[in-house]
């Protein structure tokens, strides 16, 4: 009886160990998040967990946000993405257009065509979060997204 209990406790312990190992490894696995220069300050608000962070893409923070320059002093040349307090529209668009051509974007999704050079990509797309909000949207979520800006009443 005591032997069986002992075996069970070992099994459970092993499972717990594996689980905790899995959890810690998932957090620090991506190469992009081991960039000590940025992560010194941005560990909390700068972890890159999205599709663009995968190792195979060999991207760093500066691939999109530009070189550090005078940052964190202001003014600096860091590219900030967003519709409200982001960098200049053209600056933001140029970064995404380095890889994503307008023609292909338009073929994939018609809304790219009508918003071309009018809104930054980050108005809808969120790259840092592990899930991209624009992927697998239900029709309802999608129409509500339109409503956020197009509210004529």
């Amino acid at each position: 009886m005591s032997k069986r209990q002992w075996l069970w406790s070992i099994r459970l312990g092993a499972i717990a160990l594996l689980l905790s190992f899995g959890a810690t490894s998932a957090e620090s696995a991506l190469q992009i998040n081991s960039d000590t220069t940025c992560m010194k300050c941005h560990k909390r608000n700068g972890q890159m967990l999205g599709h663009h962070g995968q190792d195979a893409m060999k991207m760093t923070c500066s691939t999109c946000h530009g070189e550090k320059g005078d940052h964190p002093k202001k003014p600096n040349d860091i590219v900030v993405f967003g519709i409200k307090d982001g960098s200049e529209l053209d600056t933001q668009l140029a970064v995404c257009h380095k890889c994503h051509t307008q023609r292909k974007l338009g073929e994939t999704e018609w809304t790219h065509n009508v918003h071309a050079q009018k809104v930054p990509c980050a108005a809808c797309h969120k790259l840092h979060s592990p899930t991209e909000p624009m992927a697998d949207m239900t029709p309802k979520v999608r129409s509500e997204l339109c409503r956020n800006c197009h509210s004529g009443r």
């Binding site: 018609w110 009508v114 999608r142 509500e144």
Partner: protein, 228 residues
Amino acid sequence: MENSKRRFLKGTCALFAGATGASLLATVNAAEGAKAESDIKYAMIHDETKCIGCRACEVACRETNQVPEGVSRVRIEQTGPFGEYPNEYYHFSRISCQHCEDAPCVNVCPTGAAFIDKETGIVSVNAWKCVGCQYCIAACPYKIRFINPVTHAADKCDFCRETNLAQGKQPACVEACPTKALVFGNLKDPTSELVQVLRANPTQRAKVALGTRPKLFRILAKSGEVIL
């Protein structure tokens, strides 16, 4: 004895006179009532210059009227892109029941399931009367009817007659539209927003030449015609 006879005759005469008078009054009242009821004739405008193709109308309709997946009472047809990058644009047009005054679907329905509501002019379906023969689907020139996979009856837009309108609200699509591209109202009320918009804008209706007298108006976005 004689007195009672006289009284009886008087009584019966009075009763008959009263009854005929009352029935006359009732018919007059009914006629007036019918007249008053037909003061409503609902119609809708889809302003394609305002439509952004967000399909909120489709979603709201599905939710409000419990339209199952795979079929729809209203959908937005998209054509394009037109123009050159970065100023490309699309056309959106509403595909839904036109609420014809001379509705072919109603004319062909053998059971009377398809009907025009006399009070409102709305073309509607009595699901329990429908036998699913699909004559109406074949007859509709606008191809907007379908068999509801749940009720197995013909189904289509009824301006939310049984849902939102019954609760004194605007149809679900109109309420949902973020850009106010849909206007719903009474054609016979000159003060209604619908009539005001109709007066102020050139509008079009689909397949007018068929004589169906549709009541879904479109405000065209840009010239889609051949330019000479």
